[in-house]
Amino acid sequence: MRGFVIKEFFHIFRDYRSMLILFGMPVVQVLLFGFAITNEINDAEIAVLDYSKDNITQEITNKITSSGYFILNKNLEHEGQVAEEFRKGNIKEVIVFEDNFAKKLEKNHSAQIQILSDASDPNTANLLTSYTSGIIRNYQQQKFSEFSLPVEIKPESIMLYNPELKSVFMFVPGTITIILMLVSAMMTSISIAKEKEMGTMEVLLVSPLKPWQIIVGKVMPYVLLSFVNAITILLMGFFVFGMPVQGSVILLLLESLLFIVMALSLGIYISTVSSSQQIAMLLSMFALMLPTILLSGFIFPIENMPEILQWISHLMPSKWFIIIVKDIMLKGVGILYVWKETLIIILMTVFFIFLSVKKFKIRLE
């Protein structure tokens, strides 16, 4: 058994392509997704609709435009212009101050700012509004901290065109999911298909090794490597992009392990139905990677999909895993909040293992 695992490591380390996929891929993907998203909020063009035009609204506007994230494109005069400006596509956000802003703050200790953003590009929209409200909160703290009574500026963000948009730091959970899926499912299915193609599988089956030993020996190295990858991505998310893990790291790693096992069982199943490495590769690509990327909610929000696709997305194990990772990383929740998703992944794992064992037996008979 140990010899088996060692041999498998040799296979991986001697093939520069698999090394590239294993170790180059996660780094490149995290950097790519990370920077592609973060770059977009530099110099975002905005418009301001100021009904009040007093010194406080002016100060807030200055603070926002001097932050480096935003550039003031236009001052609007009336509400009718908002939709028009958005349609032109130059601006990404409109900030609306209600009338008598400063006076209301003084009298009622409360005033409203509306942040309208073009959420047809959901990631950017979400980033922009959270940055804007962050700046406003910051201003409020600096300006009114010495006041005895609490003063409240209420930023109200409205997502236009895509109201039910999801969280922003999608790329780390998403990349973990894709990488784990890729490494675990695709690499195992290819490596098992390779044994079949080279005829070595026959020899292994004739040997006294039991089928489960063959399978475990084959997948063990990938479990380890996937796990190393998951940790690498988390570390990169933390050090390069400052994305902390709010919840329990141990829970997150356990959930990752569960997802790895799920992906491996899927990979084993794929290898039982494919006769060559190419077929295994194509199957993993089209049956796993594309749906994982497109339907898991990683890039496109599930809420905006047609109903049929939403239903299909429920069948994607990656969708549930992304929810789990997001909840743990961003909301810092414990197992009590993600047990449903966890259970779904466990059931899927059992299902795929059951399927592949059945398929494996048929092949032997």
């Binding site: 041999k7 296979h11 001697r14 026959e202 020899v203 292994l204 006294p208």
Partner: protein, 244 residues
């Protein structure tokens, strides 16, 4: 014919896939240390039968024992006592010669010391000692074939199954390979070999010829040639195949 102790016995071996009968009531017995040729055209049912004997596939009916063990209930014991070499030679191309030996030795539970000794023994005999740390895919096909055969008998099995072991190699290498087979048989290992090269059939102690899932003839090459009044095994095979 000299009476030998039998090591493989098949009585009424039948394997059906749905309505298709791949092996139709095969009866044969292989003696200890014998070189038994299992001939037939592609699709005649050779591979199906060999899979059953190796414990990879379950027969539909019949009484079959391999190395004294029952193929229905004692597959694990059979697997410990047989070696198998497939037509693809089944070496790990990206591992070195020694790593292949170590791996196969490992899965048959040989100790490190045994693996080292046996590896050196085979490499010495093949004159490939200096290639011990070369990666397999840099070696010529003929060497791979010999290495694959050595691996199949690394754990000193009582029977070795060779599934078309000489495919794709040149006549001289094939001849050398048969020298190795003789040597192994002399050491008391039974050799069960399938081939469709009829000249190779002449080297076997006895041969069985399968046509459409049935054994049409089973005897020594000499007897068969006399019986069908031809001067080569090729002739025997053609006569049988036409009849079928």
């Amino acid at each position: 014919m000299e009476q030998r102790e039998s090591i493989i016995e098949a009585i009424n071996l039948t394997k059906k896939f749905g309505n298709f009968v791949a092996n139709d009531n095969l009866n044969f017995m292989v003696g200890k240390g014998e070189i038994f040729g299992f001939l037939g055209a592609n699709g005649a049912g050779k591979t199906t039968a060999i899979k059953i004997l190796c414990g990879l596939s379950r027969p539909t009916s019949g009484n079959i024992t391999v190395a004294g063990f029952d193929v229905y209930t004692e597959r694990e014991k059979i697997k410990k006592n047989i070696g198998y070499m497939s037509q693809k030679f089944s070496l790990y191309e990206d591992l070195t010669v020694f790593e292949n030996f170590r791996f196969y030795g490992g899965i048959y539970g040989l100790s490190k010391k045994e693996i080292r000794e046996r590896t050196n023994y085979f490499l010495d005999k093949l004159g490939l000692m200096e290639y011990k740390d070369k990666v397999i895919n840099e070696l010529p096909l003929g060497w791979k074939q010999k290495l694959a055969f050595s691996l199949a008998i690394l754990h000193k099995p009582r029977i070795v199954f060779l599934d078309e072991p000489t495919g794709g190699v040149d006549p001289i290498t094939r001849r050398q390979f048969w020298d190795m087979i003789y040597e192994v048989a002399n050491d008391g290992i039974t050799v069960f070999v399938t081939t469709h090269y009829m000249d190779e059939a002449e080297y076997c102690g006895r041969v069985s010829i399968m046509v459409d899932g049935r054994i049409e003839a089973l005897d020594t090459p000499e007897t068969l040639k006399n019986k069908y009044e031809v001067d080569s095994m090729d002739g025997v095979f053609l006569k049988l195949a036409r009849k079928g």
